[in-house]
């Protein structure tokens, strides 16, 4: 009975408790108090739900599995398997990918950045730059290797459905014109719309273009960062260099985030376009792995 008396204001409870015996007059209507009780209990539960709904958010950290159950591989062994899975594929089309699992909270900032590999992964990415025509920036962007540069011509091309670039940058001076042109609907879903948040609205266009041409954008999603890190024809040494660069960069990003937020690299998985994922143990090669010279080319 405490459950329903607790629902009432204290004053009312005092009054009630004084006349409590009157509420249970006889054993005659045995089912009635039962019913009342049930109702009161359900009300109480509802109220509980309301109050706890705000509190209940699930675990604050991503669940981490114990890696000792996981079989882990040396880089060369994983490469040998992956190369077998990718046999006969176009060597430029098939790529090695790395999935970096982080130990992190569910909320809070995520890592998103760009990185330049010691050995370029993409053959060449085409870059579009939106900047006021006839300025210094336009010349610089063209010199740095941007494919499409300008303001109105870019907008027209995009509206006509000709999107012949993989990246799009914007100069702050042109940002207003870009937003007015209403390209968000076309570029947004493709992830090409420049915005200050993604770091694609920048002053020094030329530097950024340079970086983008050999760089890869990555971001953390559900505590995992997935990046392509090499072509299938790479030697194990090249792949190791790229992998090292990636991990170093991620660690640097994690350290630079905030003092209170800690992110750690928990697991590194090497995969490929058509292959399964191999958890890496950090070794370069094991006793059984073949000579690293044979793990290259097609």
């Amino acid at each position: 009975m405490a459950s329903y008396s607790s629902l009432l204001p204290t004053a009312a409870r005092g009054i009630l408790s004084s006349c409590r015996p009157a509420l249970h007059p006889s054993p005659m209507a045995t089912f009635l108090p039962g019913l009342q009780q049930v109702r009161a209990a359900s009300q109480a539960r509802k109220k509980d739900q309301k109050t706890t709904a705000k509190k209940k958010k699930g675990p604050r950290e991503f669940k981490q599995k114990d890696l000792k159950d996981m079989q882990q591989y040396a880089l060369c062994d994983a490469m040998r398997y992956l190369r077998a899975f990718e046999v006969g594929r176009e060597p430029t089309a098939a790529k090695y990918e790395v999935h970096v699992r982080l130990k992190t909270r569910r909320d809070g900032p995520v890592i998103r950045n760009m990185l330049r590999f010691p050995h370029s992964v993409q053959t060449e990415s085409r870059i579009c730059v939106v900047c006021p025509p006839g300025t210094r920036h336009e010349k610089e962007a063209r010199a740095a290797g941007a494919v499409l540069v300008g303001e109105q011509e870019v907008f027209d091309a995009v509206k006509a459905g000709k999107i012949e670039f993989d990246r799009c940058l914007c100069h702050p001076d042109s940002l207003e014109a870009l937003n007015k042109a209403g390209l968000g609907r076309i570029l947004g879903p493709r992830g090409l719309m420049p915005s200050a948040k993604t770091g694609t609205v920048v002053e020094d266009i030329a530097v950024r273009v340079e970086m983008l041409r050999g760089g890869t954008v990555y971001r953390e999603r559900d505590a995992v960062i997935r990046v392509p890190i090499g072509q299938l024809g790479f030697t194990p040494e090249q792949l190791r260099d790229n992998l090292r660069a990636t991990i170093d960069q991620i660690k640097k990003d994690a350290a630079g985030l905030n003092d209170r937020i800690t992110k750690e690299v928990y697991e590194v998985v090497l995969s490929s376009t058509n292959g399964p994922g191999f958890s890496l143990n950090g070794e370069f090669k094991s006793d059984e792995s073949p000579d690293s010279a044979v793990l290259q080319g097609v």
Binding site: M70, Q71, R80, F85, G88
Partner: protein, 206 residues
């Protein structure tokens, strides 16, 4: 990322065991293990058409099934595959021997030419095998006979693993039936209750 056990199971079954044992799990003679009869293999090239009609099915299956195993056991041998749109074109496997072709290879060689296969270098001799209308197992037998590849039998551990997986699969089938029955019973119960409640409502309305 997906749960570890799921990942491990998939990796072990679909991938690793499958790539280590089966048709094509064999090593080619290398420069060090070459004999007079069977010279070393330097490259492989496979050409077939995109669709399976016209006898290209076996060739594709060979690529899907045997080539990964061959590549796993012979990581140093480059293997290329070319998929064409010419359905009436050749389905051919070109084997490149260092120096000279083996006798068996010259006997079994087909009369097709494959213009997509790279030209053999001066130190190589290539033999083209016609694989149109052949099953991938037949192709593998032919390749084995031509090259003198040494098959690698499954080890006791791998056999045990295979057996275990087979058991798991059978148990899974059983469990699936069992769970389906339980779910069905629960659904029936609920439906019955629903009907009963409906009748009470009707009675009340009367």
């Amino acid at each position: 990322m997906v749960n570890l056990f799921k990942r491990m199971r998939k990796l072990k079954t679909v991938s690793l065991l499958n790539i280590q044992i089966g048709a094509g799990a064999a090593t080619f003679p290398t420069a060090s293990s070459a004999t007079k009869e069977f010279p070393a293999i330097t490259r492989l090239h496979l050409t077939y058409a995109r669709k399976i009609y016209g006898g290209h099915q076996g060739a594709r299956h060979f690529w899907r099934n045997c080539l990964p195993r061959l590549k796993y056991y012979n990581p140093a041998v480059p293997m290329t595959v070319r998929q064409t749109d010419q359905q009436d074109g050749p389905a051919a496997l070109t084997i490149y021997f260092s120096e000279r072709a083996s006798n068996a290879a010259t006997l079994l060689a087909g009369k097709v030419t494959d213009e997509h296969a790279p030209k053999p270098s001066s130190a190589e001799t290539s033999v083209v095998l016609d694989i149109k209308d052949l099953d991938h197992k037949d192709i593998w037998t032919k390749v084995k006979n031509m090259t003198g590849a040494q098959e690698i039998p499954a080890s006791a551990e791998q056999q045990a693993e295979l057996q275990k997986l087979e058991q798991m699969r059978q148990q899974g089938d059983k469990d699936r039936v069992r769970i389906a029955a339980i779910r069905q019973a629960k659904a029936d119960q609920e439906r019955m209750l629903q009907e009963a409640r409906g009748e009470v409502e009707k009675l009340k309305q009367l």
